[in-house]
Symmetry: C2
Subunit: 190 residues, 2 copies
Amino acid sequence: MSRWEPNARGRLEQAAMELYGERGYEKTTVTEIAGRAGLTERTFFRHYADKREVLFGGSVALQGLLVDTLAEAPASASPIDAVAVALQATAAVFDERREQSRRRQEIIAANVELQERELVKLDSLAAALAGALRERGVPEPAASLAGEAGVAVFKVAFGRWIGGSGEPGMGACIQEVLDELKAVTAGGRT
Amino acid sequence: MSRWEPNARGRLEQAAMELYGERGYEKTTVTEIAGRAGLTERTFFRHYADKREVLFGGSVALQGLLVDTLAEAPASASPIDAVAVALQATAAVFDERREQSRRRQEIIAANVELQERELVKLDSLAAALAGALRERGVPEPAASLAGEAGVAVFKVAFGRWIGGSGEPGMGACIQEVLDELKAVTAGGRT
C-alpha cells in the first residue's frame, strides 16, 4: 500500500458514515472504518484523532468558510448583514451534501456524547463569528450577539431544511429564518 | 446521624464548591464532599447523581423559574417580551448569589467536560423556552428563535455581569444586552 492514499480523508469519512448507519456509532471501531475504506489504522490516525472526529471534520471547514466570507463582506455591511452573507455562502455546500447531512444528523441525534460535541462546535462557531466581527471593528456586546444570532439562525434553518423535502434549499431557509428572527426581536406577534 | 439531614442539598453544594475551588474539580471525590458537609456518601447520592451534578442543580431551578414566569406573562406580550419578563425574574437570584456564581463560573471555565455540560443545559433551556412559547400559541420558527434569542441574551448578559463589579446588577445587564440584540438584528451599525 502506498504511503500516499488518494482522498484518504474522504474515503474514511464515507466508510465511517456507512458503518455508523449500519451498526451504530458506539459499536463501530476504528479498525473497521479503516478496513472498509481499504486503509490502515495508522492512516486513519493521520487524519482523525478518534472515531468521533470523523463526524466533525466538516464543522471545521464550515467555520473556516463562514469566518473567511465574513471577513470579506463589504465594509459598509452592518454586523447582522455580514453574518447573513457568511451564512448564505454555506448554502451551496449543504444543498450538494443533503443526503450525507441527513445521515450525519441521524447519527448525532442517537448519541448524547455526539450531541454534546455538536453543541461545543456551535458554541465555538459563535465565538469565531464574534471574533471576525471584532476584527471588522464591531464593539462588544454587538459582536457576540451577532455571532450568537448567526448560530441561532443556522440551527433553526438547518432543522427546517433537513426536516423538509430539500425544496426550498438551504439558502431560502436561512433567509426565511433570519427574517423571522428580525420580526421576533422587533417584538412582532408573528 | 439522623436520616433527615436539614438542608443537606445546600450543605453538599457548599462543601463541593469549597473543595473544587481549593483542589480542583478533577481531584475532588464524593467521599470528600460528603465528609466536608458532615454527611454520608449515601446522603450525597440521594441528592445528586454524581459530583458534576452538584454544579448544575441551580440550572434546573433556573429553567423552572424561567418557564413558569414565561407561562404567566400577560397574554398580550409578544414572544420576545414574554422571554424578557422571564429573564428579568432571574435577576434577583443572581444578584443574591454573585460570589457563588463567580466561583462556579471559574470552576466550569477550568474543565472542558463541565463546559460541555453547561452548553447542554443552555441548549435544553432554549428548548424549554420554545416549548413554553408554543404553549402560548406562538408558532414555529418564532418560538425556537425567541428561545434561542433568550439564551443568547442570558449568556452575554451573564458574562458582562460576572466580569464586572456587580453594579449595575444582573437585571440592568439583561435589559442592556436585550436592547443591543434588538439594535443588532435591526441592522444597526452599533
